[in-house]
Amino acid sequence: MAEEIKDEAVESEARIYEVGYHIVPLVAEENVPKEAGDVKFLIEKQKGVMISEELPRLHPLAYTIAKTVAGKKHIFDKAYFGWIKFEADATALPAIKEAMEANENVLRFLLIKTVRENTLVSMQKIISQARMDKEGGEKKAPGVGATAEKDKKPVSVEELDKSIDELLK
């Protein structure tokens, strides 16, 4: 009995986190997966369990970021952006944070609490569903808006059409 309670307490401490990071573009493209592997390794070292990830891809930055690498100041306008979603104990986070800060090739990172489910929503899916709603009327495909209330349907179509128009501008 006591063991069960203890197990539950341990389980409740494990939470879902996500670390998003930029790797400096000074790293050659063929070495980027290795850098991502290093981030993964430091999470696994803290007994983190991987849920999902996206390998870093070269991405233009919305503004320039300065960083001193090997005693020289660099200003970057692009970086390799990747993320890892993992399950870990709350006590493991300071160590992960410190290790990320210490990594010279990490330009910037963000460690946040999240949910296990896939949180990325495809805009294409929303647009195609809005089109199906418009064309098919009552026929509704299972997906993002499948559980929406029926009486609210016409209003939501209007709103979606507006958003599509905005996108097409």
Binding site: G20, L61, F81, L110, V115, G145, E159
Partner: protein, 67 residues
């Protein structure tokens, strides 16, 4: 006019900061957040949206300002 929340109507329960395509729709040409009075987003989603936009700005996925 009766507006409905974009996130509620599309059953989006968690607004991800990496979804810049969606977040951009709630920014004006100066890259400032659009008020919920104009966008029709419900208060719960607006709080999530604000946090997601701020995270995306920090990660340089979205600009703080555009002239």
């Amino acid at each position: 006019m009766n507006k409905q929340c974009f996130f509620t109507s599309n059953n989006i329960k968690y607004i991800d900061y990496k979804d810049t395509e969606i977040l951009k729709k709630f920014l004006n040409p100066h890259a400032r957040m659009i008020s919920r009075k104009k966008s029709g987003v419900c208060s719960k989603s607006q709080r999530q949206l604000a946090e997601a936009i701020k995270r995306a700005r920090f990660m340089a996925l979205l600009p703080y300002l555009t002239r």
